[in-house]
């Protein structure tokens, strides 16, 4: 299994500001994903982070709002830009390794926007 470090663990932000969430994995992984979980809801895939190229976004999510970087096989960042209270959610980094078909999750970031 992969050990995934995600930070910050939680943050309270003001409307209109941006927050960058970091995800570091202890081994090279094939796939890195970013999910959002709004209060009382299930996980919604925001995008697949591609190493060295632009992320692949799901319907309803755009790069200007959720820019993602993945400079190498073990690290990715998700930025939540120009935040509004509707962005208050748990954000989860998840990975799949080359030899493991399971999806592993980071510890999550609890974001509250005032």
């Amino acid at each position: 299994s992969a050990v995934i470090s995600q930070k910050p663990s939680r943050d309270i932000c003001q409307r209109g500001t941006s927050l960058t969430i970091q995800c570091q994995v202890d081994s090279q992984v094939t796939m890195m994903f970013w999910y959002r979980q709004q209060p009382g809801q299930s996980l919604t895939l925001i995008a697949t982070a591609n190493q060295g190229s632009e992320a692949t976004y799901e319907s309803g999510f755009v790069i200007d709002k959720f820019p993602i970087s993945r400079p190498n096989l073990t690290f990715s960042t998700l930025t939540v830009s120009n935040m509004s209270p509707e962005d208050s959610s748990i954000y989860l980094c998840s990975v799949r390794t080359a030899f493991n078909e399971k999806l592993f999750f980071g510890s999550g970031t609890q974001l509250s926007v005032l």
């Binding site: 796939m31 994903f33 999910y35 809801q41 299930s42 996980l43 919604t44 895939l45 697949t48 748990i90 989860l92 998840s94 799949r96 078909e101 399971k102 999806l103 592993f104 999750f105 980071g106 510890s107 999550g108 970031t109 609890q110």
Partner: protein, 111 residues
């Protein structure tokens, strides 16, 4: 449209009860179904099922997949308060490059 549906959405039981959680799916190019337990923020892996009719078991938890009827069940016997959590079902496709999650079942086990 690909979808994963879980039922019930929530469940309240007492310690010692047995519960069955359901997950049905309609996903193109199905490969595997996974169950996760989410207590706080990060879901933790429970089972992955790829073949029909083969029960996976871990302690008091067990799960089975029916690929003909497109569903899976997760059983928890002799429930404990520590089983209280949201249980998520996810389905992955043939290349494991996408995972679809159900809405989850919130289980509350009372003493």
């Amino acid at each position: 449209e690909d979808k994963v549906v879980q039922s019930p959405l929530s469940l309240v039981v007492h310690e010692g009860d047995t519960v069955t959680l359901n997950c049905s799916y309609e996903v193109t190019n199905f490969r595997s179904l996974l169950w996760y337990k989410q207590e706080k923020k990060a879901p933790t892996f429970l089972f992955m099922l790829t073949s029909s009719g083969i029960e996976k078991k871990s302690g008091r938890l067990s799960s089975i997949l029916d690929k003909k009827e497109l569903f899976s069940i997760l059983n928890i016997t002799a429930t404990q308060t520590g089983d209280s959590a949201v249980y998520l079902c996810a389905v992955t496709i043939y290349n494991f490059n996408k995972f679809y999650f159900g809405s989850g079942t919130k289980l509350n086990v009372k003493p």
